[in-house]
Symmetry: C2
Subunit: 208 residues, 2 copies
DNA sequence: TTGGTAATTGTGCAAGTGTATAATTACTGC
DNA sequence: GCAGTAATTATACACTTGCACAATTACCAA
């Protein structure tokens, strides 16, 4: 009578990954409210009951999802460095431009970032990851700034302040691009970012 | 038998303010999930039904709460500017400095802002308020930038781009101040912000 | 081929959600 | 004082949520 749906046994790693992916997708699209057990299971091509088989509770699943998200972010921003040019000025300009252009600017990313941001004050593990990610990005930026200044024969003593300001500028532009899609013409933010960096460092960065 | 609880009629403004305060407190403490109609009413010393009497829907209440929060931050950034000399440069510097100093920088405010960012994708009322408050702050900043440039005898045609960049810079610094309290010395962000603006506008802003 | 096992499904439930609405009550103007 | 009115409460409802648990079924080993 009531025919059960057929299924395949997929093993622990596959299923956990699928559930985590579905969770991240849903949070990115509609915020945490949208990530219900039923919606997650549906998107993962699975039945709600299975979630409980791999995660003791839904909180555990969400926590695991955030962990993989953060790990992915750090890896992604590190990988992108190799493709930049060698010339310090062009390298910095490329880095800055990438940070405020697709695919880095993406409403999904901003929504996910906001969701995890909200856990930072309450969750010490989350705070540690946030700190490490932030300082890692800022450190890379500071290195590039130093190299660019050095190549132009300029002193580098205020690089910390410049990196903090530059990082804040990129963060803000990234958020605005993600939170208000359609408010900016394509390439407008990139141009704004590079021009702003040129003035911040008093250097001529190529817009490329 | 069933004795109704006694109450006092408090008038529209009082009640709306109380409900909004309760909403903000709850979201700050436990995220958007914690702000249920019952919890809000309890904290506001009121019955859940009353919410519907002052707000058509719960979404409206949350959006109104976000609006008062953001407008409060904008006003706090503009506070005490009148006491400054009537100099556009000093006014802009004061505004910039305020925006990245206590009480504007505050972990609670950042947490609330992050919480509302997760509501924006699904909640249309929230999206409208977000857009309006963002453009409101940026508009004020752009006005001040224009006045400062004009006072220095400089062209103002690129004020839009400068306002976008300046706003992003302030947003980023504000977020980091709230998310990583203790990472910056008192006054460090203010100094960084004013110096960065000086370079962005190619003007000498007083650090006050 | 056949059990055995664990992955997976389906159903049900108790608690919590936002909202609608009628019943009450405090205050206002006369 | 006294009606009228709007603020406030109380109750009910339809719906969603996370979770528990028994029933099933795909796969594996022998």
């Amino acid at each position: 009578m009531t025919e059960r749906r057929s299924f395949v046994r997929a093993g622990e790693e596959t299923r956990r990954a699928a559930l985590i992916d579905a969770t991240l997708d849903l949070i990115a699209e509609g915020g945490p409210q949208a990530a219900t057990v039923r919606a997650i299971a549906l998107r993962a091509g699975v039945t709600p009951g299975l979630i409980r088989h791999y995660f003791d509770t839904k909180e555990d699943l969400v926590a695991a999802a955030h962990e993989t998200l953060m790990n992915g972010l750090t890896e992604a921003s590190a990988a992108q460095l190799d493709e930049l040019p060698d010339d310090p000025l062009a390298r910095l300009a490329g880095f800055v431009g990438n940070a405020v252009s697709p695919p880095v600017t993406d409403p999904r990313g901003v929504a996910l970032w906001a969701a995890s941001m909200q856990l930072v004050p309450r969750d010490s593990a989350m705070r540690a990851v946030h700190e490490a990610t932030y300082l890692g990005f800022r450190g890379r930026l500071e290195d590039m700034i130093c190299e660019a200044l050095h190549a132009a024969g300029r002193p580098t003593q205020s690089s910390r302040a410049l990196a903090i300001a530059g990082n804040a500028l990129l963060d803000g532009l990234w958020i605005e691009a993600g939170a208000l899609p359609g408010h900016f013409a394509p390439g407008e933010l990139k141009s704004i970012a590079i021009n702003a960096f040129s003035r911040l460092l008093e250097l001529e960065l190529p817009e490329g």
